[in-house]
């Protein structure tokens, strides 16, 4: 693998999964692990049935229901369509012999939380899922990307996908992260710098001492939002932190193969002098706690900033876009971010629904109360995250502060289940998208880190964690 010209991590994974280079310039790439959920798979299974095809390698697929599931009273899903969709996934997985984590299974949770948690996600793998946030798994040095339902069907039938290689982009962040600045702030800052189309056609590799010093969970937050920068996937070279995280997890290589796997993983990081089509270097001291003010993840400013003025836009399109966002968000130019009053707090999602996130929130709200006018909801990323939090007594702290403590799922990140914002309700959210209507029609989303969301819940308006006591 280390022969020839210097290669990036992406180049190495690509080369190692190439089944066939076809005459038309496309490649057939082998997929090691396919994650399936209830929303983007029914039509794929239906397609297999219509064409009388079978699932080629059921053991390479794991399924779970997450998008649609209620976070309370889930024994019987009230919404008929949601219930049918979840039941359809259960039926399809049984029919094809695919492993399925039932709703009643402690391991159920958001597909991108449970992959890493179970040790399903491993360095050097190719992984796909009918969900754009599949990029999360890149934190392990796995090439992981979201696909459409037709491609889900293709992977089920052939265990491969038709691709052309992406371009390589490296974003290096150097230096220790300043107090109050988390990996969420780092990725929001990056999206603000390069824009939501900045990574189009590229796989972004995150490097540098700031990134290397982060825990696996913090790395996952960064890779998760690569898609918000337009990149197909995010990648971080695997290292000792990665290997330590994986060891002993249920689906990780067992003792029998551990040494061989470790040897393979150790050779994956990008070679020195490898070529990148685009490079960006960031000094960690540039980064403040970040908050979105608009309806695109690139609409981001420092928590110490103000709501922008459309007339300051460089292009006519951008000006129109700011005006549209401000109207939707019900904000005036020049308003201080820390003066924005909130109605709801949502803590959860595949971006920030892991145990470290909940610990950080609990540490901030301990012995404090949510502001009177604020409602807060915490949705752990998986049943096991919930169990862990309860074993540590975090649920008590969070409930005493006034948060609702829910069952695992995607919940208000996209509001497919009953957890939604009402029109004009303003929410501090640890999720990944602030699109119009994303969390409920007319709902207004401000993306931020769990730390900022926690402090804001107590203050009742957006808070700067660095000034919070």
């Amino acid at each position: 693998m280390s022969t020839g010209s210097p290669k990036t991590l992406f180049d190495k994974i690509w080369a190692d999964h190439l089944v066939k280079q076809r005459d038309d310039g496309t490649s057939l790439l082998y997929i090691d692990k396919h994650l399936v959920h209830e929303v983007t798979s029914p039509q794929a299974f239906e397609g297999l049935k219509i064409s009388n095809r079978s699932v080629r390698r059921p053991a390479a697929t794991v399924a779970v229901a997450d998008h649609n599931v209620p976070t309370i009273n889930r024994e019987n899903i009230e919404d008929e369509q949601s219930r049918i969709q979840v039941q359809t996934l259960s039926n399809n997985t049984k029919e094809h012999g695919i492993e399925y984590f039932e709703l009643s299974d402690r391991r159920q949770g958001i597909v991108h939380i449970i992959g890493p948690e179970q040790g399903i996600t491993q360095p050097g793998m190719t992984m796909v899922c009918g969900d754009s946030h599949t990029s999360t798994h890149g934190a392990f040095g796995a090439l992981a990307f979201g696909i459409g339902t037709s491609e889900v069907e293709h992977v089920l039938a052939t265990q491969t996908i038709v691709q052309k290689p992406a371009k390589n982009m490296r974003i290096s962040v150097n230096g220790a992260l300043p107090f109050g600045v988390t990996s969420k702030d780092l990725i929001l800052y990056i999206i603000g710098q390069i824009g939501t189309a900045g990574g189009n056609g590229h796989v972004i590799e995150y490097a540098g001492s700031s990134v290397q010093s982060l825990s696996m969970e913090a790395r996952m937050t960064i890779c998760n939002m690569s898609i918000e920068a337009g990149a197909r996937a995010g990648l971080i070279s695997p290292d000792q932190t990665t290997f330590d995280y994986l060891k002993g997890r249920p689906y990780a290589p067992t003792e029998e193969h551990w040494a061989k796997a470790l040897d393979y993983w150790t050779n994956l990081p990008s070679d020195t002098d490898a070529h990148y089509d685009k490079e960006l270097v960031i000094n960690s001291l540039e980064i403040d706690p970040m908050v979105t003010w608009g309806t695109s993840p690139e609409d981001v400013v420092s928590v110490q900033g103000i709501v922008p003025d459309p007339s300051s836009a460089k292009t006519e399109n951008k000006k129109k876009s700011i005006e549209r966002s401000l109207e939707y968000m019900g904000l005036k130019s020049g308003t201080k971010i820390t003066d924005i009053k909130l109605d709801k707090i949502f803590i959860g999602s595949c971006t920030n629904g892991r145990i470290e996130d909940l610990r950080n929130v609990a540490a901030i709200v301990k012995n404090k109360k949510l502001a009177d006018h604020v409602e807060g909801m915490i949705v752990p990323g998986s049943g096991l995250v919930k169990k862990q939090a309860e074993e540590e007594g975090l649920d008590i702290i969070l409930k005493e502060a006034g948060f609702d403590w829910r069952e695992a799922g995607c919940s208000m990140c996209l509001g497919m289940n009953p957890d939604q914002l009402k029109p004009e309700e303003r929410c501090a959210s640890t999720s990944n998208r602030n699109f119009e209507g994303r969390q409920g029609r007319g709902g207004r989303t401000h993306l931020m880190s769990p730390e900022l969301a926690a402090a804001s819940a107590i203050k009742g308006s957006i808070a700067d964690i660095r000034e919070f006591k």
Partner: protein
């Protein structure tokens, strides 16, 4: 899959940047287990008010654009979620060609799985086409010659050869890949030796 060869008709202008897949088809319509019937919900929140009544000023609710087969949209069309419900809803509405300065990767890919042609044009041409669309000029899209013809003006566009071929012939990816079954099996056999921990189910 449906073929795409040529297309003629008025094009609906939608000069908004970063139109995401949540705007194209909101979450409540993702609960379906079918591919069809989504056209009526396309651009739901821009197209209908809170009571579900059509908003008359929205472009796709006005004649003749309510029959548009072509959409001219702002930069970075289709960003966000991977939901194929987005191209399904466009197609079900009747739109099978989208023109923009750029598309998000997954959406772009999903279009070709559904017989939809996404065309990338320069910002200058986008501006020109947006204005011609607003003036209800008839657009002619010719995939074989890679041309947009409107109001005696011709704009050439680029498309990767393999994508063009698939649209022109309506080819199905899965049956094409099935021809490589032996290569896939050979790959698995070799990789089981290299990475035994990943191929325990393969004998």
């Amino acid at each position: 899959m449906d073929k795409f060869i040529t297309l003629k008709g008025v094009a609906a202008p939608l000069p908004i940047v970063n139109i995401d897949t949540d705007m194209i088809i909101p979450k409540q319509f993702l609960k379906t287990i079918k591919r069809t019937g989504l056209g009526i919900s396309l651009f739901y929140e821009m197209r209908y008010d809170h009571q579900g009544q059509a908003i008359k000023s929205f472009i796709l609710n006005t004649d003749p654009f309510n029959h548009s087969k072509i959409l001219v949209a702002g930069d970075n069309f289709g960003c966000g979620s991977s939901r194929e419900h987005a191209p399904w809803s466009l197609k079900d509405f009747g739109i099978s060609c989208i023109i923009s300065t750029s598309f998000a990767d997954i959406f772009y890919n999903n279009c070709f799985q559904n017989g939809i042609l996404p065309i990338v044009v320069s910002p200058e041409n986008s501006k020109k086409l947006m204005s011609l669309a607003s003036n209800q000029k008839e657009f002619e899209i010719d995939l074989p010659s890679q041309k947009i013809i409107v109001d005696r003006e011709t704009i050439n566009f680029e498309i990767e050869e393999y994508r063009k071929k698939r649209l022109l012939e309506g080819l199905d990816d899965i049956s094409m890949t099935m021809n490589y079954e032996q290569s896939i099996t050979d790959y698995e056999y070799i990789q089981k030796k290299n990475k035994p921990w990943l191929f325990k189910d393969i004998k």
